[in-house]
């Protein structure tokens, strides 16, 4: 993905996130950072009080995040379809039945599970960047 396309994707993700009604209503304490590892691309998302703080495409080796969600590019493409096929329709489904791995501080993931789930479903609107 070219730099311009990455910028466009990040901008769209942020816009969709920041106007998401569920996140606006329930995201007051949704503050965390996590890595989406998509095999051919890594994305570090930092959220503060439900709004996107930064989206870092291809972060550096020392960039910090609290947990990571890793899967193949193929899994993320299916995950990001408007209606994902069975077993690609969420991080639990893709972890139990597919190649997705949840790593790092999973307590932070669980503490933010409600809003994180809503945030990841934004991929169904903007698509996967891989």
């Amino acid at each position: 993905m070219a730099v311009a396309a990455e910028y466009e994707w990040s901008t769209r993700f942020q816009e969709e996130n920041d106007r998401n009604e569920e996140l606006s209503a329930h995201g007051k304490f949704f503050t965390c950072s996590y890595l989406l590892d998509m095999e051919t691309k890594k994305i570090l998302i930092r959220t503060h009080s439900g709004k996107i703080d930064t989206i870092n495409v291809d972060p550096g080796p020392l960039d910090h995040y609290q947990f990571a969600i890793r899967a193949s590019a193929d899994t993320w493409r299916k995950f990001a379809m408007p209606t994902p096929p069975p077993m690609y329709h969420g991080i639990w489904a893709a972890s139990f039945q597919g190649d997705m791995k949840l790593e790092g501080d999973l307590l932070v993931l669980m503490q933010n599970l409600r809003c994180l789930t809503a945030q990841l479903e934004i991929l169904r609107v903007v698509g996967a960047p891989v």
Partner: protein, 288 residues
């Protein structure tokens, strides 16, 4: 006069004794005919059956009864025990005894038992251990064995257990199921976190019928299994494998629906349930 619409569904309590403990059990019911006894999923309550309870096509021929298992919905923990001093772990033995005692208390003749998830697994247990008490069972989203969901995350004190339980089962539903029904199911789950983990002790640990399915007397009790293709815990492959080992059992794969079919999308579920009930009815006619 304010605008009001009354439901034909009625609720009632019955107090029963199981293994020396006293339980005040709440149940909803509607309809007349052969009883269908409905069990909700782990950590939930009987509102999951709200669509079926008001579905006239079913209630004109069946008496639909949906109860709350003790510690769920409006059924309290045992009245005569200091239950808060013990860790709750549901066992197959208690669970089956409770259901049979409730059916006896309600004087149900020839009931069909239907349950989803941990209710589907107990339907298999009932078919194995109580084949004379039920006409048939409909295990929904069930399998001979369903490991992996007895997790500490459901009750971790550093996380919001209500949200972890509710959002932790979100992916068990199909994304195309109606939003209002998926969110109603999510809402029910936010109410049941205290019992969820203990229920899953049965679901993922105590329930294990591997190597025993051929002992189910499928000529005496009809088994019709239903599984949605979006269920990542007990997949259609798990359901098919389980049904194939039970004499005379049938398996129906439900397309475009997940682990809580009656609650997440009753409109789609009802067509598969109709098919299951027709199979049971045909089997009974053949037996007669």
């Amino acid at each position: 006069m304010p605008k009001a619409k009354f439901s034909p569904v009625t609720g009632r309590y019955v107090t029963i004794e199981v293994e020396g403990d006293e339980y005040k059990v709440f149940y909803l019911e509607n309809g007349s005919g052969q009883p269908i006894v409905c069990q909700h999923t782990a950590g939930c309550h009987n509102h999951q059956w709200r669509g079926l309870l008001e579905d006239e096509e079913f209630t004109q021929n069946y008496r639909v009864i949906a109860y709350d298992l003790p510690r769920h919905g409006k059924s309290d923990p045992p009245l005569n025990q200091e239950w808060w001093k013990e860790e709750y772990k549901l066992t197959a033995d208690f669970y089956t005894k409770f259901i049979v005692t409730l059916c006896d208390a309600l004087e149900l003749e020839n009931p069909i038992f239907m349950g989803s998830s941990f209710g589907g697994n107990v339907a298999l247990q009932l078919a194995l251990y109580y084949p004379d008490r039920f006409d048939a069972v409909i295990p929904v989203e069930a399998a001979d064995h369903s490991p992996g969901f007895y997790l500490d995350w459901w009750q971790h004190p550093h996380a919001n257990a209500a949200q972890v339980c509710a959002s932790g089962v979100w992916d068990l539903m199909a994304p195309q199921s109606p939003d209002k029904d998926r969110w109603a199911t999510w809402f029910y789950y936010s109410q049941g976190s205290e019992a969820f983990k203990g229920d899953l002790y049965f679901y993922s640990v105590d329930h294990d019928l591997r190597g025993k399915l051929d002992q189910i007397q499928g000529d005496k009790i009809k088994v019709v299994m239903l599984t949605g293709d979006y269920d990542y815990l007990t997949t259609p492959e798990d359901g098919r494998r389980t049904a194939s080992q039970i004499k005379n059992a049938e398996f129906i794969e439900m397309v475009g629906i997940g682990h809580f079919p009656m609650s997440e999308n009753h409109e789609l579920f009802r067509s598969y349930l109709k098919e299951a009930l027709e199979i049971i009815s045909a089997a009974n006619k053949a037996k007669a």
